[in-house]
Each structure stands twice: as structure tokens, then as C-alpha cells.
């Protein structure tokens, strides 16, 4: 399978934060959600892919090309939306579009026009007059209009209402109807991932917790709730992480079918959502 993105032992050291030798990859034709709490390192990874900051170590390949040596070719085939879209503040959307579109061979003016209408964007207005949501929509319209083979979207759904978010996600799965297109998007809105993402990469404190097909997580991981009897040594190996509350015990299991077989009838076993996993991760150790 051809890879859209391969990251190996990527490292970035800041004074108060280190991205610790991160590795994962995304096959062509799929959508990956990059998820994690604020400050986990999502934006750092994206900036490193985009070569906006300098890495300390490791390797990044996009379309099989080194992201530093092949930067020009990669960027001509890449659509990028920054977490806080920024263009020249005092220039109208129309003029920004005119400048940006020059960079792309496959610029699709007709598509851009239809997105502008659909997103309700005022082309004559200056960029700085736009709300965050509108800036995001404009940035998305630009990224979607040059037939990019790979979209990298940093928190594209933040500041957008649920209706537009849903439409955007549908548009993304529409894009990968063409199996040469790939999408990486970061988010902390986990419900966005539960729907469309094919792969989920969860990151915390600068480290990858897991990078897996979403179905694997969905079908294997579970939340178990029950009384103190769950603390028994014999169940211990079922649980990744276990917490006592004043009323009982809550645990994360990576093998929901074993839990269903083995645990006593009183235990409640639900599938774990990405949000559940993030909350457990925050409280203790989670490792796939």
C-alpha cells in the first residue's frame, strides 16, 4: 500500500515540552484523526510535517518524499489548514484567493466559487473582519480548491457549529471517494472522529498512545463498571487501567469480548469511546 504519510522517530524539544520520538503512518486513500488533549503535541507534529519548525531528529515522508528535500513538490499537492488561519489581515478575501491560486497548477476556480457561496463567505471583505469560524471556512475553501492529494487540517472543526462540522466531515469522506486522496486532521472533538476517521492516532504528553484502525479500538476496547469484586486479582490482567470510586470500580479493558466472557453478571460492559479513553489516559496509564 502506498503511504501518504510516514513519520519515524520524530523528535522536537522545547524548553517545557518534548515530542518524544513519534512514529506513525497513514496509507493513501484514508482519513486519520490525530487526537489528544490540549498541549499533547498535535500541532507540533503538523508543523513539523509542514516544515514550519525545525525538528531535532527523525524522519517525515509525504508521498514517499522526504519533507525537506521534496518540500516544493509536496506542498504543490498538499492542502493545509492552520489551527488559526492567518493571511494578510488588511487584504480582501478576493485578493488573497488571487495570490494563493497562483501557486497551484490544478486550481479549480469553479469549485472555489461554489464553496464561497455554500460557506456564505464575503469575498469583498478584509480578512481581519472575519470571525474565527469564517476564517476557518475561508481557509478550508482555499485548501479544498486545488485538488490536493493530501489534506492536513489542524483543528478544522473548532469554532464551527455542529451542522457545518457534519457537512465538512461528509465532504471529507466525499473526497476520499478518490482512493488516491488522503486526509489527516487533528481535533479534540472526539465525536468528529467516531464517524468518519479510518485511523485514529492518540497522542498525550508528546507520545503516541496508539495509532490504530478505528474499528480495532471500537470493537476491542471497553469500559467496565461494577462493584469492588472487580478488584479481584484474577480479573486484573483484563484491565488496562482501573479506578475506584465511592460506589464501585471503573476500568478500561482492551479485550471487551474476554471481559464479557469472564466477568461476573453484575458488571456493566460498554464500548469505550475515544473520549472515555482520553479520560482514562488522563487518570492513569493507557498503552495499546
Amino acid at each position: 500500500m502506498d503511504m501518504a504519510l510516514e513519520i519515524k522517530n520524530l523528535r522536537k524539544e522545547y524548553k517545557s515540552f518534548t515530542l518524544k520520538d513519534v512514529s506513525f503512518s497513514l496509507p493513501q486513500g484514508f482519513i486519520m484523526g490525530l487526537v489528544g488533549p490540549n498541549g499533547a503535541g498535535k500541532t507540533t507534529i503538523i508543523k513539523l510535517i509542514m516544515n514550519l519548525i525545525r525538528r531535532n531528529a527523525g524522519e517525515v515522508k509525504v508521498f514517499g518524499l522526504d519533507n525537506l528535500k521534496g518540500e516544493a513538490e509536496i506542498k504543490s499537492r498538499l492542502g493545509f489548514v492552520h489551527e488559526t488561519p492567518s493571511f494578510f489581515e488588511d487584504i480582501s478575501l478576493k485578493d488573497i484567493k488571487a495570490a494563493v491560486s497562483l501557486f497551484y497548477k490544478r486550481w479549480d476556480e469553479k469549485l472555489f466559487r461554489s464553496l464561497i457561496v455554500e460557506f456564505g463567505l464575503p469575498l469583498e471583505k478584509k480578512f481581519k473582519k472575519l470571525s474565527h469560524g469564517m476564517k476557518m471556512k475561508f481557509s478550508l475553501a482555499l485548501a479544498l480548491s486545488h485538488d490536493a492529494d493530501f489534506l492536513i487540517l489542524d483543528e478544522p472543526t473548532s469554532g464551527l457549529d455542529p451542522v457545518f462540522r457534519r457537512e465538512l466531515l461528509e465532504r471529507l469522506s466525499g473526497l476520499i471517494q478518490n482512493e488516491r486522496k488522503s486526509i489527516l486532521f487533528s481535533t479534540h472533538i472526539t465525536s468528529d472522529l467516531e464517524r468518519t476517521a479510518d485511523y485514529i492516532t492518540l497522542i498525550n504528553h508528546g507520545e503516541i498512545v496508539f495509532s490504530l484502525p478505528k474499528d480495532d479500538v471500537r470493537e476491542r476496547w471497553g469500559i467496565v463498571k461494577g462493584g469492588k469484586e472487580l478488584l479481584a486479582e484474577s480479573y486484573r490482567k483484563l484491565f488496562q487501567s482501573i479506578h475506584e470510586t465511592s460506589f464501585g470500580v471503573e476500568a478500561l479493558t482492551l479485550d471487551i469480548s474476554a471481559a464479557r466472557r469472564v466477568l461476573p453478571a453484575g458488571a456493566v460492559i460498554d464500548r469505550a469511546s475515544i473520549e472515555d479513553i482520553m479520560i482514562f489516559m488522563d487518570k492513569g496509564d493507557v498503552r495499546a
Partner: protein
């Protein structure tokens, strides 16, 4: 084709798709040779992962319900009539087995069960 996905069902989504398509092929709602949507189209329509729909189609193909012709698409396979009949029988058997174990649990005897079945059969 009609597919309804439940997010609260304990069954994996690929299994839900697999089961529903299978049922429609067996009942004849999906006819032999009929084209199915591509895995990517189905994923988009249902707003689920491409990996999920691919897995459902893989299972169906493995079980002989559908065929994928590279470059053309996915179609309902020509069903072996004997096999189809057997599959239909199996569905009835499974449902009856469910009813039997339920009856045993509730302490309903075979005589009473037979009467119930007879009554229901005539009603239909």
C-alpha cells in the same frame, strides 16, 4: 438496498452491514447480478470508515454472496439454488432454536410449544 446502522448495538458495524445485505440477498430483495455501491460510496453514505465497509464486503464475498469484478464493481453473486434454500432453512432453524431455548427457560413444554406453533402458522 436498505442498511440501518445502530451505534448502540453491541454488534460490530461491519457485522450489521454483512447481516443486512445477506438477509436482502436471501429474501430476494437484492437480485442476482444487481450492483452494490462501492466500498467508498457506502462508507460515505453511512458516514463510517472505509475499513468497515471493506471488511463487510470481504466477508460477504468470502461467503459467496457477492462478487467483486476489478474495475467494474461489486455485484450480487449468482446464487446456487440448493445452497440458497439451505441458507433459508438455516435462518428458520436459528430462530426456532431461539424460541425453544426461551421456552425451556420459561418452563413451557414441547406439547404447548407445538400448539403455539400450529396456531401461529395458521394465523399467517
Amino acid at each position: 438496498m436498505r442498511i440501518i446502522i445502530s451505534n448502540s448495538s453491541p454488534d460490530p458495524i461491519y457485522e450489521q452491514i454483512d447481516r443486512q445485505i445477506k438477509a436482502q440477498i436471501i429474501s430476494g430483495d437484492l437480485a442476482e447480478g444487481e450492483a452494490l455501491p462501492s466500498i467508498r460510496k457506502l462508507a460515505q453514505e453511512l458516514q463510517i470508515s472505509v475499513i468497515t465497509t471493506k471488511r463487510a464486503y470481504d466477508e460477504l464475498e468470502h461467503e459467496g454472496f457477492i462478487n467483486t469484478v476489478i474495475g467494474k464493481g461489486t455485484f450480487v453473486a449468482v446464487q446456487n439454488q440448493e445452497l440458497l434454500k439451505e441458507k433459508k432453512m438455516k435462518i428458520v432453524e436459528e430462530k426456532l432454536a431461539g424460541a425453544v431455548s426461551e421456552a425451556k427457560m420459561l418452563g413451557i413444554g414441547i406439547g404447548q410449544l407445538k400448539d403455539m406453533l400450529l396456531l401461529l402458522y395458521k394465523e399467517e
